[in-house]
Amino acid sequence: MNEVTDIRITQAEMPFAVVQGQPVLKLPDDLYIPPDALEIFLEAFEGPLDLLLYLIRRQNLDILDIPIAEITRQYTSYIEMMQGMRIELAAEYLVMAAILAEIKSRMLLPRPEPEEDEEEDPRAELIRRLQEYERFKQAAEDLDELPRLERDIAVASAAVEDKGEVKLPPEVDLKEILLALRDVMARAEIFAHHHVQAEPLSVRERMARITDLVSRNQYVQFNECFDLEEGRIGAVVTFLALLELLREHLVDLVQQELFGSIYVRSPAQT
């Protein structure tokens, strides 16, 4: 303990005070008040109302019938004691001292009897506050008594082997895609002017299908690109797709010999 203090002092090199030119590095023993004690005292009460309640309850007095002068005396002596101990007192404690003094002084004054009936007893407001505070002091204790998690209650839970946390992929509405495309179109005039517009989509699809086919097989027989079941229109679409692919150099058509098989292949292989 002492070591710690000493170390701190040497590190900080800050004297508590300078007396007659000499730095005082250590508090005189007789001035020493264990800080714990002060804190405990302060923390014992949750404020002036709590302290007042304590003073009242200690004497088994009814809140409704507080001997204001006596309570004021006791309260004030506590406050003075704390001030004497140089405890930094919350302002509320001093305010309460003032309130008590005020009430006491008003009660000592001779009361002009009848007509001032409506004037409230000077203690009334204080009593209301004390009562109200006491209710919640009690409520806090009751709350503390309630069975609660972490102390009185354990929630039952079972293990889950594989949570398989399925995070669903976003759902997309076709319309969202179309709207997105419209925006792109609006932005890029390219769609407005180019031949793209006239292009039947099925050709595009077929182009993708053929490219896919060709990329997976080195050579694809020309007639393998066609699906007879699709009929004439299907054949035309496929043929258009092949021509388009040729034009874009996405495929090559090769024929080894006259009237031999025509192969479709990826142009990279040349």
């Binding site: 002068a69 006491e134 039952a156």
Partner: protein
């Protein structure tokens, strides 16, 4: 839907979920065309509760829904499992929480008036971090102070189904019983002695009282506040 199956699903869900489940949440487990509806789920819950009678857990309903918890009779043994001590809460925190619970919605200033001390920011922060209180609105006065209220998590933590289940608040005794005349006419001997002995103190006090007439406002102000809150039944 087969109630036996539903019962199993409900039990599994309550045991698997990290927090209590509401009827809505239980219902949402099922595909649209298979949703049992609240009625059937309640039936399943009741059946489950009956099944569990001789088991280690019991079904309870708290603020945010249903949960299964270890029977309290087994807790003394089971609590051996915890190596850490359960958290304790300071009086200041509990008082603040109690005031918010019984008087919600309430402003910080109003809490301070009731407790007679200013409220540390720590307490409010702790309460909010524990998700026990939240800002539920703003009072329509200058500064628009925040109105605080409790959450479902608060109910869950304290094993309450609703605020109704809070212990009843002590009654306020009737102030009309005050008999000031009596005391004034027959000051008790203690007081007498007190006043004579402590003249110095008394004077100091009175002096203090005069110096700070503004305090009177502080006393008077809460007047309507109290009246207001007192009328309102605790909910």
């Amino acid at each position: 839907m087969d109630i036996e199956y539903l019962k199993k699903v409900v039990e599994a869900a309550l045991l698997a979920a990290p927090a209590p489940l509401s009827l809505n949440q239980l219902n949402a487990l099922f595909a649209d065309d298979e949703k049992p509806g609240h009625g059937l789920i309640k039936e399943a819950l009741a059946a489950l509760d009956a099944d569990l009678e001789h088991r280690a857990v019991e079904l309870t309903e708290v603020g945010s829904g249903y949960r299964l918890q270890i029977r309290t009779t087994l807790m003394p043994v089971i609590s051996q499992l915890w190596t850490e001590k359960p958290p304790r809460y300071s009086r200041a925190l509990l008082e603040t929480l109690a005031i918010i619970a019984y008087r919600q919605p309430i402003t910080r200033g109003e809490i301070e008036q009731i407790r007679g001390v200013s409220l540390s920011a720590n307490i409010l922060r702790t309460l909010q971090e524990r998700d026990w209180i939240k800002v539920v609105g703003h009072r329509d006065v200058p500064g628009r102070p925040e109105l605080l209220g409790t959450t479902k998590a608060f109910l869950d933590y304290f094993n309450l189904k609703s605020l109704d289940q809070l212990p009843t608040l002590a009654e306020i005794k009737d102030i009309d019983n005050l008999e000031p005349e009596l005391e004034l006419t027959h000051p008790n001997p203690d007081r007498d002695s007190a006043t004579t002995e402590d003249t110095d103190e008394t004077q100091q006090e009175e002096g203090a009282g005069e110096e700070t007439p503004s305090e009177e406002h502080d006393i008077e102000a809460p007047e309507d506040q109290k009246a207001q809150t007192a009328e309102k039944p605790a909910d």
